[in-house]
Symmetry: C2
Subunit: 200 residues, 2 copies
DNA sequence: GACAAAAAAGCACGATCGTTCGTATCTTCG
DNA sequence: CGAAGATACGAACGATCGTGCTTTTTTGTC
């Protein structure tokens, strides 16, 4: 039926916000119910368990990430331009994307790294896929002769992801006003090191 | 008196372990008391409040970090060797350093980034100091002519820290067996890019 | 060994947690 | 409109949370 699905989505939207600041464990059903002007039990029924809620929140977060970062970057030209688009959109996502507490997936990555269970499994799966996606984009840049053939796609993906983790750290914890500039500089250095060496 | 201080330290040691897996918020006084075979109230009296406990845990963690990573690295030669020592010891710390849940400071960085209070303040302070320490080590490498003069010390520190965050992510969440190799490769690439260009 | 001080325990409190269940209200469709 | 079913509520549960109090036990000193 219709009404249920609508409120369910409304709940999940606000759950995403709340979880980005409080974490997936700190995301409490009582507080979430208050925010949505409904009773604990009424809200609870939509998810069956807290674990179910967490899984749905993770699913929504990865879907939003994909459509905010990956999908639009596909419109950029293959190779370096696309990697550049991935990078800048990724940074934008970490900033303001309706996530007052920064990237939920990054927060969950640290929170769940020692908490076995379906939530961890889902997150690991999504992150592995993302790493592969990045590596594939690098491989395309090699095919397009934007990058040298001896560039290691997975290493590059690791370095790219590292820059974003560093950005998240500098920006969100340290409130470093130079965080964005540093991240950009690091990205440029990374790309420059992968380009074909000039003949001279 | 003596006995009190001894148990206090014993408590803090196990609190460090517990907090590394459960986080600073998930670190509960009841569970910590069970682990140490004492009552909640007895343990509580040592710290006055949960916030006090968290602050003491953070303080112990930064002290241990300093003595495990920074202090021994000072025995390495100034410049690139010392930076190399800092990097490898930092990785070792993230691995096995009596921290079953990985580096507590990294976990706390994500957990506290939106939780104002003295705990956050203390962590930010420690991390800022660490960034300065790294930048200073880079500046020394420039003085020693290991690195070019146009290398940006703070940018290098940012990149170094980013690699470690990436390592933590790949190792702890993804359980990637290549994590250490990737981190090392990224480090070598970073250092190679900072060395004086060969005359040719 | 007595005595003061320190350390730990015991107990209780209000709050909040996730969860269950019975009941009431609203939506949807014949 | 009326019946069926989805949706939400209210109350209560056992557990655990951080935190006060008072009392008991342990410790160190003369």
């Amino acid at each position: 039926m219709r009404k249920g699905e609508a409120t369910r989505e409304r709940i999940l939207e606000s759950a995403l916000e709340l979880a980005s600041t409080e974490g997936l464990t700190g995301l409490s059903i009582g507080r979430l119910a208050d925010r949505n002007g409904m009773s604990k039990s009424g809200l609870f029924a939509h998810f069956g368990s807290k674990e179910g809620l967490q899984l749905d929140v993770l699913e929504l977060a990865t879907a939003k990430f994909r459509e905010s970062v990956f999908t639009p970057a596909l419109r950029a030209d293959r190779g370096e331009p696309r990697l550049r688009a991935l990078f800048t959109r990724w940074m934008d996502w970490a900033d303001h994307q309706s996530l007052p507490g920064g990237c939920l997936l990054t927060a969950a990555a640290v929170e769940l790294d020692d908490q076995p269970g379906p939530a961890r499994d889902a997150l690991v799966d999504a992150q592995r896929q993302w790493a592969d996606t990045l590596a594939r984009a690098v491989r395309i840049a090699i095919e397009e002769r934007h990058f040298r053939a001896d560039v290691d796609p997975h290493l590059f993906a690791f370095q790219l992801h590292s820059i974003l983790l560093g950005y998240h750290h500098a920006r969100r914890l340290l409130r470093d006003p130079d965080a964005a500039r540093r991240a950009h500089d690091a990205f440029e250095a990374l790309v420059a090191g992968a380009r074909p060496r000039k003949a001279r």
